[in-house]
């Protein structure tokens, strides 16, 4: 419990630090009033905009000290109020409520594909370590790592959606199956480098684990190879993979921005790009908060899983 409490406090501190930096950047990189109003923020734009400037300063408390403004903003987001978009005054929370689940679904989908493929592949590869098939699989996995996501997205989209029309060319959320089907290529695009990464790490750890005495004992008992691999070797070999799994969450968010564009998936990817271009800070800050929360939560869960994978790892210690 002590570990959990400590980590929770750390998570909160990380999120606060990230939001503080993001809020600061939004406020100090340029004139915040300009970011809200554009060129009419300048006195040079003319006296006819003076009232609008004054209203904006009041609405966004721009005359208050930075820390006060940050505190007010943080208080609002804790209550789920991310403010209104500069673009069209829509509620940012409502907008994200529509888009964020799509991106999270895509990320989870990609991770599921990656795990489902990489684990059996790594087990098989480790069991054939240093043989020709293992070497071939190494070449394949490095090739998968070497293909940029944007190129892979274009390739998969063109072949399977446009040319062969096996998958739809647009996002379809009519039902769960339609959603799975329409997002498969996007998820696979994101999953490909993950598959290779997980496979490489897990294979290496498995090869090491398979040298352990308890594996020799299991084999001496006459247990079948698949049982030895799954039941005895896999769990203690997953530390590296699990660590990377957590870290890759951040990379997945970045990758999803590109993939969503290619596959016309209406997640937060396009929203992030547009918000940054438009200096739509309520949206940018909301996404920063959400992404940082997702990141720390996933990594927290990974930490918890360590003790599950190996009871010798005592979190409270």
């Amino acid at each position: 419990m002590k570990f959990v409490a400590t980590r929770l406090v750390q998570m909160v501190l990380v999120v606060v630090a990230v939001t503080f930096l993001a809020f600061g950047a939004m406020n100090f990189l340029g004139d915040p009033l300009f970011n809200i109003l554009g060129p009419i923020a300048s006195e040079d734009a003319g006296p006819e905009f003076a009232e609008i400037r004054a209203e904006a300063r009041a609405e966004y408390y721009l005359d208050d000290p930075f820390v006060v403004r940050y505190g007010r903003w943080l208080g609002d987001i804790v209550q789920g109020d991310f403010g209104r978009s500069f673009k069209n005054e829509t509620n940012v929370s409502t907008d994200l409520k529509n888009k964020l689940p799509i991106t999270i679904f895509l990320m989870v989908y990609a991770q599921v594909i990656a795990v489902v493929i990489s684990i059996p592949w790594a087990l098989w590869s480790a069991s054939k370590a240093y043989r020709a098939v293992d070497k071939a699989s190494t070449v394949i996995s490095f090739s998968m790592l070497g293909v940029p996501v944007f190129a892979l997205a274009v390739l998969l989209f063109w072949i399977f959606a446009v040319k062969w029309q096996v998958f739809p060319t647009r996002y379809d959320d009519t039902d769960f199956f339609s959603k799975l089907n329409s997002m498969f290529l996007a998820a696979l695009t994101l999953a490909v480098p993950l598959i290779a990464t997980y496979q490489r790490l897990l294979r290496t750890d498995l090869i090491s684990t398979l040298q352990e005495d308890f594996i020799a004992v299991a084999r001496a008992k006459g247990l079948p190879q698949w049982w030895v691999l799954f039941r005895h070797a896999l769990r203690p070999s997953m530390f590296s993979m699990l660590t990377v799994f957590g870290i890759q969450t951040g990379a997945l968010i970045g990758g999803s921005l590109i993939v969503e564009q290619q596959f016309s998936i209406p997640g937060i990817g396009a929203a992030v790009v547009e918000a940054i271009i438009r200096d739509d800070f309520p949206v940018v800050l909301a996404i920063v908060v959400i992404v940082s929360v997702i990141f720390v939560v996933v990594n927290f869960l990974v930490d918890l899983l360590y003790s599950f994978l190996d009871p010798r790892v005592r979190l409270d210690g």
Partner: protein, 580 residues
């Protein structure tokens, strides 16, 4: 309420004022397929050779409608869903405070309808109105509303409703920039009785009804407008009196329209329309050609060529009659404040190269505001481009007079375009090729929002731009007038010419086509000789439809006048149907 959003929109979406301006007098069809050159693939045409020809509707024995298409009989499927990929998403769908570009205009037309519509005959026709009666000097128009029109929320559309919407337009700092100059500043509108109101233009205006054929003619439910004042999110869920109403809208994802049960006219044939914003031209075309949507529109050369390659397997309707692609030069600041530099830039512009490598035969060459197949085109009126020999002495003289603006005998300029966009960067390369001997060019590729903002505020030298080409030429006048050169200017080039202003006022007051044509000839010559724009092409708006979609060219006004199949990418929805 704090008007920040409108100002953000101003900075962000001003580019679409060309399209907003359609509401200023525009109309769907002045420049429509009526004027098409059926022989020219690049012209504004309804490509009926690629489409099932719809010649009549008959009642069949079982009560279903049958469309005769050549020798085939196609059975109409009642109801159903049509999906369409749109070029852009709207920030909001409230016409009173949001400049709507073509994709949102398509949605808004179905949701609101318009007071008048423009037919294939280039004339306006009553739609939500019953009559428009001008006084003798066209200084006021009495407008009577159609009886029995109600909004989808059940409220009655009457004079008060129109006045409520109209005042919302004029109160908005953004939309009023375009519309306010056309009306009397003191009493622009007044109620006569419950169903009649009077419009007072600023001066004699024989073409005022055209102003109400698009955005300005979209009337919102007063209850909705009142509620929206309290909750700006209702801008996403407008309530009008059109044939369809919004049932679902998730911005950037989809907008779903269903039939309006209170619609005053013939109900739409299709039960549901689903619209998806797909800003990437190639992705939109992929979705259409893969059968994931039944309708699309676009302007990109590559996509148009792909649609052409499909031949008879799809329906394709092209319209190059509106929207000119230009380079706009800022006449208010050096170096383009000097007409010699503007003339030199025009002369050195490599239009032939542009047409060959950029347009690839998909769009018409432009020399003026009006396409060759419109009523206002002046044959033989040519822009003096592709003549680098003319540029040389002009630049030499300018650099001798204003050496501060030159380096090594070339004028220093910033060429601004939005992006990143491969197409726009290709255009920049072509322009550089032509201008390089005379100009030191710094190319700025900046986000679209900033690009628009800079042009509005006059913070540019020369920029890529797209507008003009409206259904009635009077609509263009707001963008050429001295009056609209302000801190935020919709006279993009910031070029004031009082002689041209006088001509524009004169053409507005006459109903004689020949006299008006003569005036517009002078205006176009003035426009050309002031070298404020380098007009390049008439944008080709192409609509692609699956063969299962019927009725594209069946839209008619209440008086039976035919309405163009599409107008700059805007397709009317109620007459569309699916075949089996």
């Amino acid at each position: 309420m704090f008007e920040r959003r409108r100002l953000r929109q101003l900075l962000a979406v001003f580019f679409v004022f060309s399209l907003v301006a359609s509401a200023c007098g525009g109309g769907d069809g002045d420049s429509s397929s009526t004027d098409a050159d059926p022989a020219g693939e690049e012209s504004s045409d309804t490509d009926t050779t690629d489409a099932p020809v719809e010649e009549g509707v008959d009642e069949t024995a079982d009560g279903s409608d049958a469309i005769t298409a050549d020798d085939e009989t196609v059975e109409v499927v009642e109801g159903g869903t049509i999906r369409m990929a749109l070029q852009t998403e709207a920030d909001a769908l409230n016409p009173t405070n949001t400049p709507l570009n073509r994709a949102p205009i398509l949605l808004a037309t179905a949701i609101f309808d318009t007071l008048v519509v423009v037919g294939e005959d280039n004339e306006w026709h009553n739609n939500l109105t019953e009559s428009w009666t001008p006084n003798e000097g066209f200084t006021s128009w009495e407008v009577k509303m159609r009886d029995g029109v109600v909004f989808s929320d059940g409220n009655v559309m009457d004079a008060d409703a129109v006045i409520r919407t109209f005042e919302a337009f004029l109160a908005d700092p953004l939309t009023s920039l375009v519309f306010r100059p056309a009306f009397d500043p003191e009493v622009p509108i007044e109620k006569i009785d419950d169903m009649t109101f009077q419009l007072n233009p600023k001066g004699p205006n024989a073409y005022l009804p055209f102003y109400f054929a698009e955005q300005l003619g979209m009337i919102g439910s007063p209850a909705w407008l009142d509620a929206r004042d309290e909750n700006p999110e209702l801008d996403q869920m407008p309530i009008g009196a059109g044939p369809y109403m919004i049932s679902e809208r998730i911005q950037d994802q989809k907008t779903v329209l269903v039939r309006n049960p209170n619609y005053w006219g013939e109900p739409g044939l299709i039960e549901t329309f689903e619209f998806f914003p797909v800003s990437q031209e190639s992705a939109r075309t992929d979705q259409f050609l893969s059968g994931d949507v039944e309708l699309m529109h676009g302007t990109d050369a590559e996509s148009i060529l792909r649609l052409r390659d499909e031949g008879d397997s799809i329906i394709r309707i092209e319209d190059s009659s509106g929207e000119e692609f230009n380079l706009v030069m800022n006449a208010q600041v050096p170096p383009f404040d000097d007409i010699r530099v503007r003339e030199a830039a025009t002369a050195a512009f490599p239009k032939e190269q542009y047409l060959e490598f950029i347009s690839e035969g998909t769009s018409l060459e432009a020399d003026s505001l009006f396409s060759t197949d419109t009523l206002w085109n002046v044959p033989g009126l040519e822009q003096a481009d592709d003549r680098p020999e003319v540029a040389e002495p002009l630049i030499a003289a300018y650099c001798a007079d204003v050496p501060d603006q030159c380096t090594d005998g070339k004028v220093n300029i910033e060429y601004q375009t939005d992006g990143p966009s491969a197409a726009l960067e290709r255009i920049a390369t072509v322009v550089q090729d032509g201008w390089e001997p005379f100009f030191n060019i710094e190319v700025q590729v900046i986000p679209n929002d900033i690009h628009i903002q800079d042009v509005i505020f006059g913070q540019y030298d020369v920029a890529t731009w797209r507008y003009h080409g409206f259904s009635d030429p009077d609509v263009d006048t707001a963008f050429l007038s001295c009056e609209t050169i302000l801190a935020l200017s919709i006279n993009w080039a910031r070029n004031c010419n009082e002689e041209r202003d006088a001509l524009m006022a004169e053409q507005r007051a006459t109903t004689d086509y020949d006299a008006r044509y003569a005036i517009w000839t002078e205006i176009q010559e003035n426009f050309r000789d002031s070298f404020q724009y380098i007009t390049i092409t008439h944008t080709n708006w192409t609509v692609g439809a699956s063969p299962s979609v019927g009725g594209l060219c069946d839209a008619v006004a209440p008086d039976g006048a035919e309405i163009p199949c599409q107008d700059k990418g805007v397709v009317r929805l109620p007459q569309l149907f699916l075949t089996n």
